[in-house]
Subunit: 441 residues, 2 copies
């Protein structure tokens, strides 16, 4: 390794700074990395012998230490994000700290945010985002769960009217969360349907974590990866919440049961959270490929097989496999992809920042949104498909050793492939990108 | 399903007979299937909650019931093969019943076969095939384990001289097997190396299964799949076996330490076992794809998503996803591959039967071997790469549900992908196929 590194015209350290965005950022990341390295629970080696149920228990132990570090070192939300990225493994609270908090910030009124955000960021409540149903994924408008307005009591009553309407897949829903942001069809007093909106629903007691009346939930079982997370199901029967638990930043359900739009019809609010998730997926592909290529490259420099002179083939004279052209093709192409996706991800983040900056004219905002939506729709499926394929290529490039979980490559693949499906299934995304391109002609 | 089936111009039953090779064979398979279905231990649903260690214990339970059925119903080796195929899951004895027995048949003398085969087929001994070493896989000639001839005692002494020479990966070696066919460099009395040959080495006591002196072994740990198998490591230190434990059908190590070739230099003996393994891999790709496409097709006929008229999208009017063209592309292509690989596999089996039939002239045998070797070298990597990719395509085609192990698709993929690596790594095979093609010009 030292020999190979000495051949570069720059130092590994310089490259690290470039990728991290400067020496200061590298040192920040490393300071958090050092704290994590001192905690035995974050050592992944323990996880390879665990089944799903024990993986989840390990997830809870990780949460406990994570929280302790948060408090002790007074981590900012940026510190927390760095720590999650460094751990790079499912932990049930990621759903609270990322998707749940993000949705509140985008969809809740200032008053609602003041009520919920401090609780969520301090884990006084643990939330999850419950959208997908057993029979309803990509087609959000097909969601069957209902939230019916009850004028007498000024409440909303939530129901899962059918088996197919049961919420299925939300992370942290099965065992961890005590509140859920439930996406449901709003049914007005006259029985008309007004669309799908998020509702804040307490599902478990804050005292003893027992399920509240009318709530049925549980873990949906082992998955190919991501097994520290309790993806869950949720069936609701006549569960009532105050009207003020409907997230109403962009719409208002009035006391007399009228649904009104607030302010301009700014599409950025509708697509903001999803777009943010897709931008992150594009940017994070680099993480998976960076880890995979690091493992495979190191292996390829240590592993020797075959000698160039075929006649006298033994260990002493065998060549390092990275000197075989076919191995270079398998390892170097994914390295290029990792760099390409890193800088692509930075551009997407920049675009998202411009889109969400205050004071944009309506026209500029609309144009930027169209561009960001089209780019994310094209890049999300492309990047995840390429990265998944390359992770499997890298796994195979390590021969038998790549089949062992101790190599790290199997878990990288089984964790990563979910990104082909979540936050906009790849085939649907590609069709949206195609539609955006066709519109230009 | 019934509606879709009624549209075909033939019955599903007719097609089953065609694939099985006639009604008689279908009924034979089904009679064994019925026996297996009565045994709870073969129900795969139990396996999804188990870690590697518990999967292995389940493997032992399966072995126990498998043996009981074997004895009770007096299964022939053909019945046994059908049963293994129906179970289609790793079971530690597959290494004994397939690779171990096969190697004895091809490499041992008649006298040796008479000694070992009855023991192996009755599980009086449980064998494994120990070739791959920690640092030596594709390059068999690089194997470091030594078997040194000791003229005084007429014995061979086996040693693992280095860390890199430790046997690594052989299935059933870690805990199950009590004998191993160890591939090692034969070292003659004058210190010269005479090549790599198989040696029968007892590694555990037949009385209490404890390791014999000089033998160190164990399980190499959790893998991405195939976790009911105890892939193992093996380090040997001054382990002695009688000279008669060297498999000597095609060579003879004489009492005075001379190595002699027996009979014609028939290359069929050198490549027979490996070729057989590759032919089976080509033929078995159909099994994995048949299971995967069955699951994905049924899902695609039950799952509904999006309506053609976009404006009024709800569950009642949503279309079955198989009616979306993109879903057809994902599911129907692998179905075609399954059929293509089935008939390709049949052709390869036929070629192998001709190659191994008695009474061929030397020229015919050489020509058939060249053809079979080239075909297997081309087809093995092609078929396994395509099938692996399609299994992942099918998994994704089931959306979120494909990420759940309960769908069956994750385990199908993680089990299957080993075939890209074993029995001739795909890149090496493709290069051999290319070499065979270039030779023709």
């Amino acid at each position: 390794l030292a020999r190979e590194r000495s051949l570069a015209s720059f130092t590994a350290r310089q490259l690290t700074h470039l990728l991290d965005g400067g020496q200061e950022h590298t040192e920040h990341i490393e300071s958090i990395r050092r704290l994590l390295d001192r905690e035995a629970v974050f050592d992944r080696i323990h996880s390879y012998h665990l089944n799903h149920e024990d993986m989840y228990l390990r997830g809870l132990q990780m949460m406990e230490r994570f929280r302790a570090l948060c408090v002790k070192h007074q981590w900012s939300s940026k510190d927390t994000a760095v720590a999650y990225r460094e751990i790079y493994e499912g932990m049930p609270t990621i759903l609270n700290d990322d998707l749940f908090v993000k949705t509140i910030k985008e969809q809740a009124t200032d008053e609602q945010q003041a009520r919920w955000l401090p609780l969520a960021t301090n884990w006084a409540i643990l939330g999850c985002y419950a959208q997908t149903e057993m029979a309803h994924g990509s087609n959000v408008r097909g969601i069957e769960t209902t939230a019916t307005f009850l004028p007498e009591s000024d409440e909303l009553e939530l129901n899962s009217p059918t088996l197919t309407s049961v919420k299925w897949w939300p992370g942290a829903l099965g065992k961890t969360a005590n509140v859920a942001l439930v996406m449901a069809q709003l049914v007005l007093a006259d029985g008309s349907r007004a669309g799908v909106f998020p509702f804040m629903v307490q599902i478990r007691s804050f005292a003893d974590h027992k399920l509240l009346p009318g709530v049925e939930t549980g873990d949906i079982g082992p998955k190919i990866g991501f097994n520290a997370i309790d993806n869950g199901y949720l069936s609701l029967k006549n569960v009532r919440i105050p009207r003020s638990n409907m997230l109403m930043r962009h719409v208002e359900l009035t006391r007399d049961g009228q649904l009104k739009r607030r302010g301009q019809n700014d599409q950025r609010h509708v697509y903001g959270t999803l777009l943010y998730a897709r931008v992150n997926i594009v940017a994070d592909a680099m993480m998976a490929l960076a880890q995979g290529t690091t493992i495979a490259t190191r292996y390829s420099l240590v592993r020797r097989q075959f000698s160039h002179a075929e006649s006298n083939s033994n260990a002493a004279t065998e060549v390092v496999v990275l000197d075989h052209q076919s191995q270079q093709h398998r390892v170097l192409v994914p390295i290029c992809e990792a760099y390409a996706f890193h800088f692509t991800g930075q551009r997407m983040h920049e675009l998202y920042r411009r889109l969400t900056s205050p004071g944009l004219s309506a026209d500029t905002a609309a144009a930027l949104l169209a561009k960001a939506h089209a780019s994310a729709s094209a890049l999300k499926p492309y990047v995840t498909d390429v990265a998944s394929h390359s992770l499997e290529t890298l796994r195979r490039a390590c021969g038998g050793h790549g089949y062992s979980r101790f190599s790290g490559l199997p878990d990288l693949f089984t964790f990563y492939v979910q990104f082909n499906t979540v936050e906009g299934e790849n085939h649907i995304m590609a069709q949206q990108a195609a539609r955006a391109l066709l519109k230009r002609y």
